[in-house]
């Protein structure tokens, strides 16, 4: 997930140096739902927005391995351990295809990782919350991956070809993740009183951060209109959020769990759930890097990268030696 626009500032206007006929032809292709491919001409602002969005998505997948990885060693059965390992491994795979998709726009993986580690690039706010009990693994699959699916399914038709194709693969795996999460929640919600308490507590803690995953309200998303015109985004933040609430509330009821929102009620007239006000101050704090475990997440990523430098250097040195040996033999 993790594709929400987290920039508060409107994008810079298209540079005046770009020829109008190229811009017009590009806009017409996008409007006709054609895919834009890496070698095609595209406005600089489109390229910039895509690099930001795809790399943010990739970073979210990689940082997202940490809260769930936190429980692999403590998974309560061999089957749960295997499923969680497979799931976290999928997230890493998604990160890899997304970095590859973003690299087709001319930014290297190292540059993107550098931007993450220096705080220039963002990742989904949801991963700055801690995983405290096993029920959190269920809640992440159910709510976080559930929200991710809602955001990502429309992106299978996004205008940039490599991104759209990466999303097709990602979406297939996300639906497995969502099901395994819900299955953990069912098991716990129907389990011992302690398990049920953990399940309710996990819903209490993850509900609001999950709603925040869809990003700021539409009237505070200055770039939404442009992104929708470019088919980088297909639905607005508020539309997706409403859809998520409508789908998820009955699932919580089925589990016998209570959604932590006293204002939540079904509106017969609109056919939608009405829900309470999101704490946007909390959201913007988390975006700024002040989430409860933001420091731990960045510390872990930077440490893994720095401590892995000698391994990457060795792999490059060895490959160079092999290459020169082969050349000498030819």
């Amino acid at each position: 997930m993790y594709t929400t626009e987290l920039q508060k500032q409107p994008s810079k206007p298209v540079a005046a140096t770009e020829p109008q006929e190229l811009i017009d032809a590009f806009e017409a292709r996008v409007a006709a739902d054609e895919f834009i491919e890496p070698k095609d001409w595209m406005p600089a602002a489109y390229r910039r927005t895509l690099v930001r969005q795809i790399s943010q998505h990739a970073h979210s997948e990689i940082v997202g391995m940490l809260p769930e990885g936190n429980w692999i060693g403590r998974a309560p059965s061999l089957r749960r351990k295997a499923v969680l390992l497979a799931k976290v491994q999928d997230e890493g795979g998604h990160g890899l295809y997304l970095y590859a998709a973003a690299e087709t726009l001319g930014t290297s993986r190292e540059e993107m990782i550098e931007a993450l580690h220096t705080g220039k690039a963002k990742y989904s706010t949801i991963f700055n919350y801690p995983t405290l009990t096993w029920a959190d693994i269920g809640a992440i699959g159910w709510l976080v991956d559930g929200a991710a699916i809602m955001n990502q399914v429309p992106l299978q038709r996004t205008s940039y070809g490599p991104y759209a194709r990466a999303m097709v693969r990602v979406c297939k795996e996300e639906s497995f993740h969502q099901r395994q999460g819900y299955e953990i929640m069912m098991c716990m919600a129907n389990g011992t009183p302690e398990q049920k308490e953990m399940a309710q507590d996990a819903l209490d803690r993850w509900w609001w951060p999950s709603l925040m995953m869809f990003g700021p309200p539409d009237d505070e998303s200055p770039n939404t209109a442009q992104s929708m015109r470019w088919r980088i985004k297909r639905d607005t933040n508020d539309e997706l959020r409403q859809h998520f609430v409508d789908v998820t509330v009955p699932q919580a009821e089925f589990l016998g769990l209570k959604v932590p929102d006293p204002k939540l009620r079904f509106n017969e007239a609109t056919g939608h759930y009405q829900f309470g006000e999101i704490d946007w101050a909390e959201f913007w704090n988390v975006v700024k890097g002040e989430g409860p475990v933001a420091k731990e997440r960045m510390h872990d990523r930077v440490k893994a990268w720095d401590e892995g430098a000698w391994v990457r250097d060795a792999a490059a040195a060895h490959a160079a030696k092999q290459h020169s040996t082969r050349q000498a033999a030819e």
């Binding site: 990689i62 059965s77 351990k81 011992t192 000698w310 391994v311 250097d313």
Partner: protein
């Protein structure tokens, strides 16, 4: 599951049970160690490979421990054996419980284990116990990859930069004392080998040494005589590390006995 009962009926059950625990515990404990890397590896590709190896090993552990439970006949399944046994009852070799250290140390451990496990499983696919032969046939395909993948890293790091070479040497220096245990034959192995259930462990040594020699040559690493062996894992006398591994792994099922997850 008919093979389980027929093979269990005609053979010395305690030896077979213990043998299956050795197989299952080796895979389980190494998977637990490798999982510690998840999300923290030097690059995403390596993270994916390590999780993949860990996943294969968990799969092997499930199959062997479930079968061990059937052979034992006391109603314990793989989960019961994995999460409700204490260190004295674990039968894994000392090698797999060694700390990850840096990536060089992890690869040294993986290479030694997978190279040995490949030879062992090449024997197990011919087991007179149909269930073991079946599990081994499935696992051998995975193990071939683990052995090749870790050998490639040993070569890459050994023949990479001066730093990686030194780290690789240090990684092996930590692990050498645990190699002899892999080939140690006790009464369980003797009984199992006699019944044709598994290969005699000492018979694997010459192929293991040959594989090591070839990888170390490619990696331009020195092979020196092994230090004195440290033994005990197969009898439940482990390093200090295993207790901590189990404390983490078993915490949830032990804290909430009777809960289903």
């Amino acid at each position: 599951m008919t093979t389980a009962s027929s093979s269990a009926a005609s053979r010395p059950d305690p030896a077979l049970f213990d043998y299956l625990l050795r197989l299952g515990d080796d895979s389980l404990i190494l998977a637990q160690r490798l999982s510690e890397w998840c999300g923290h590896a030097p690059m995403i590709e390596v993270d994916l490979s390590m999780s993949n190896v860990a996943l294969d090993l968990v799969g092997q552990a499930m199959l062997f421990l479930d079968y061990a439970g059937q052979v034992e006949g006391k109603g314990r399944d793989g989960d019961k054996l994995a999460f409700h046994r204490d260190a004295l009852r674990f039968r894994n070799c000392l090698l797999v419980e060694q700390p990850n250290g840096d990536f060089g140390q992890t690869m040294a451990r993986q290479y030694l284990f997978s190279t040995w496990q490949r030879l062992l499983f090449q024997g197990l696919v011919k087991s007179t116990d149909a269930q073991i032969a079946g599990i081994a046939a499935k696992a051998l395909k995975e193990i071939e990859y683990h052995a090749d993948w870790s050998a490639e890293w040993v070569v890459r790091l050994g023949d990479g930069t001066p730093e990686s070479r030194e780290r690789m040497i240090n990684g092996f220096a930590w692990m050498w004392r645990f190699v002899d245990e892999l080939f140690q034959v006790d009464e369980i192995d003797a009984a199992v080998a006699k019944a044709g259930i598994g290969p005699a462990r000492d018979s694997l040594r010459s192929d293991f040494d040959a594989a090591l020699k070839s990888t170390f040559e490619a990696a331009t690493l020195p092979l020196t005589p092994l230090p004195a062996a440290v033994l005990g894992g197969r009898k439940g006398h482990h390093s200090e590390h295993l207790g901590h591994i189990l404390a983490e792994m078993q915490h949830l099922p032990r804290s909430y006995p009777g809960a289903v997850w």
